[in-house]
Amino acid sequence: MSIDALDAPAKQLRPGMTSTDTSNPDYFHKVVDCQWACPAHTPVPEYIRMIAAGRYSDAYMVNWKSNVFPGVLGRTCDRPCEPACRRGRIEAEPVAICRLKRVAADNKDDIRDRLPKAPAQKNGKRIALIGAGPASLTVARDLLPLGYTVVLFDQDRQAGGMMRTQIPKFRLPETVLDEEVGYITDLQPEMRLGKRVDSMKAVLAEGFDAVFVGCGAPRGRNLELPGREDAKANIHIGIDWLSSVSFGHVEKIGKRVIVLGGGNTAMDCCRTSRRLGGEDVRVVVRSGFEEMKASPWEKEDSMREGIPIHNFLVPKEFKQKSGKLTGVVFEKVKAEFDAKGKRSLVPSGEPDVYLECDDVLVAVGQENAFPWIERDAGIEFDKWGMPTVDEVTYQSSNPKVFFGGDAAFGPKNIIWAVAHGHGAAISIDQACQGRDVKDRPPPLVNLMSQKMGIHEWSYDNDISNDLRFKVPHLPNEIALKDVRAEVELGFDRKVGFEEAQRCLNCDVQTVFEAKLCIECDACVDICPLDCITFTGNGDEHELRARLTAPAKNLTQDLYVADGLKTGRVMVKDEDLCLHCGFCAERCPTGAWDMQKFLLETAQAGGSCQSR
């Protein structure tokens, strides 16, 4: 045999990489970058295909099962899936996953008959949920159909938590929130709303089988600067102010507004101000524009509404005249990087900047606050005042008390709260049924060939060349007049279809069967992204460098298969695979097949609860 005479590395056969274990659910799950990145592991490509097929209700239900609030998240999610999207590595921008979720929610039929029902016969276990935000509502949704008695506590008169109080109505209409909160309250938890919980001990004394704390991070950080006290009438804490706007307690703001802070709350504050009479609204941020915590699209939306963002300005002093705020003094700073690349902001030496204003909104961060949890209630707190919470089970040092959402690990966002809720519900169910909370039910995994004919697949493998579609907005002259008018109009069905077609169907996996392969090279020749190589084995590092196209993205796995007749290995770099199925179409022996990988994370009640 001299076939490898020219393939020098094959001559120095080393043990090299072992064949990829595709029976480990994590392997193919990681290939579905969006699903892997989603804290709730929503099967994204699965529902995007349903949207393309016009099956909006089905797409909604796939979402609802995983993330509980598709209509809310389709408008407000922080979208960890989108930076992960493979499309973003192949062309300029990822699939508009978040806004497609909204397409499903907007176009679905009445789905109420598909929702789980609470059984008439209760199982006798009583669970308290403190706070009626996304984390607690998720726990309620997961546990009520299993027969648990659930009691929801919240200081506000309506359930919804921060989704209701902090997210402005022009981003999230109340009808959408009411509908999706309603799907959970329809399961009839006991509602104790409008009254703040003052004592954990009192809650525990009621004899609940478990207590879940999902009270969020309700305290907006203050800025103690000279003049703060004197001008306090016109200086507002961002989240509290948003909440007052939300409940209609505040309907006006001054003409000139300065918003301090660079996160998403700051963006909500400035945009709300524009709608409540603010004409000259500015955002002032300590850091540079790129390092701001706000999502890029939220910055973009603010600027579209005529709100400038000033960077590298640190607030120094509030100026006032007889108790009336007149402006803010800022120190100019610049970014300096030390040898390790760590950034620090140092004074630039330029003169201070003075900006006049009538009102200031402080949106410089949120904090957790648990004044109501007695320190002798068996719940350990760390030196930062945060409870000690297990990252998998969400259990605190009191085995009956669980934490989730912002209350558990500090401020994150809705989709994390949902993920925590699902996890905590599993733990609560395990604990109440006398099982070990550390014993986690496995996910439901399905891997199935999509072959329908010689070059026919059950998914559309013709790759769309379209660039990301833009979501239409209400014109500013209308949007800025009404704080409740939804500013984003969402994709219509036609654009929704076209955007859905941009999805690469990364869940349809390229599955390789070495014993069928005759090493004809057809797959290597046809692959548009040069993902496939047949070569001698080697260490991963060395192998990555000598593939048909070098595999430089170390976060993406190599799919390695040995057992070929020539002794070589098949190596596929997962990084840029289009999942177009051309390798499988070109394969004469069926060694390549396109198989749909569907993973549903476990929820309370076991992995097959939905089946």
Partner: protein, 351 residues
């Protein structure tokens, strides 16, 4: 056998050659051959060779006859000239085109049916005339388009997919090319691009009739046990006489080898073919010895591959005919029809 066009997305790290083209710029239409066809691998090897040699696609003319192999010019070098001729008549068309415009690179793509049966005479005469070309046969030993009858290159004793045995003697295209005076002769295998790509590059740089016989398994009709043109059989019986690197100029040579282990052959355009000897006694510049060697190994059931013969100083048809340096298609009416007086002068030479 896909009907979809290949997505336009390409690997961001795909390198560009000196012309600013990526390998994918040398692709053609999507292949309609059977999945796994060896011919598609040969198309990929051609794409790689032209890309690596920085050849502008418009400088290439692809000519072919009839058959699966002759369809393939549609699947590579989509920006090149092409002529899909009558069955077995590609060599004549290629000869004519070469006479009219000597400046193009001529690529004749044929198969065992097109060149060893109906076009056998054309093949031999084209080679013996010394037409400057790269002539490639994509040799699978069967008539694939008509469902797998033995072709003229099928080995005696080999089995058809339907179970029949071939009793006829095979035509050895490599042997015929050597006999007819091809000045570069190679044999390779579609499943070994490491060998095939440099061989094609050497043939493109060669200024004379270059012939490469590429064994290209027919996955649909000739890839079963009993076939001598299957992937498994070829891999088991492949005896490479050498491996080669094609080096465009001496300036690029940076590695020195121990004397005797490599043989550098310089072609007239300055390019170097560096042969790594695998069979020590094999001398690819000795035509008669090469023919003997091939026959002996064929008797043993082995398939000798690699660069089998090379004349580093070939002459081509235009040299034999003493044609003008300017391509005929660039000459004006005045030069081509010099008038009655010039004709009289020529005629007088023969009186």
């Amino acid at each position: 056998m896909t009907y979809l066009t290949k997505p336009k997305f390409r690997h961001p790290a795909l390198e560009k050659n000196d012309l600013g083209f990526t390998r994918r710029d040398y692709e053609g239409a999507i292949s309609t051959l059977c999945a796994g066809c060896g011919h598609d691998s040969i198309s990929a090897a051609l794409i790689q060779a032209f890309y690596e040699l920085n050849i502008e696609p418009h400088r290439v003319a692809k000519l072919s006859g009839i058959g699966c192999s002759s369809k393939t010019p549609d699947y590579f070098l989509g920006q090149s000239h092409g002529f899909n001729s009558v069955h077995g008549r590609m060599p004549s068309v290629l000869t004519g085109a070469n006479l009219a415009n000597r400046n193009l690179i001529y690529l004749g793509i044929s198969g065992d049916g097109d060149s060893a049966s109906i076009g056998l005479g054309q093949f031999v005469h084209c080679v013996r005339r010394g037409v400057n070309m790269v002539y490639i046969t994509e040799n699978n030993g069967v008539y694939g388009l008509t469902k797998g009858q033995f072709s003229a290159t099928a080995d005696r004793g080999s089995k058809s997919k339907a179970g029949g045995t071939n009793n006829d003697s095979p035509i050895d295209l490599v042997g015929m090319a050597l006999m007819a005076g091809a000045t570069l002769v190679g044999r390779s295998f579609s499943g070994d691009k490491g060998q095939l790509v440099p061989l094609i590059k050497a043939a493109i740089a060669h200024n004379g009739p270059a012939f490469i016989d590429v064994i290209s398994p027919c996955v649909a009709f000739n890839n079963h046990p009993g076939s001598t043109k299957s992937f498994d059989f070829v891999r088991e019986h492949n005896e490479a006489v050498n491996s080669l690197d094609f080096i465009e100029s001496r300036a690029e040579i940076t590695v020195d080898y121990a004397p005797g282990s490599v043989q550098d052959v310089e072609q007239h355009d300055g390019s170097i073919i560096r042969l790594h000897k695998i069979h020590e006694e094999y001398d690819p510049t000795n035509r008669v010895a090469a023919m003997n060697y091939l026959q002996q190994h064929h008797e043993k059931g082995e398939l000798a591959t690699g660069l089998l013969y090379l004349d580093p100083n070939p002459r081509d048809m235009h040299a034999f005919l003493r044609t003008v340096d300017t391509p005929l298609n660039r000459l004006g009416a005045k030069e081509l029809c010099p008038g009655a007086k010039a004709l009289d002068a020529i005629n007088n030479d023969y009186r």
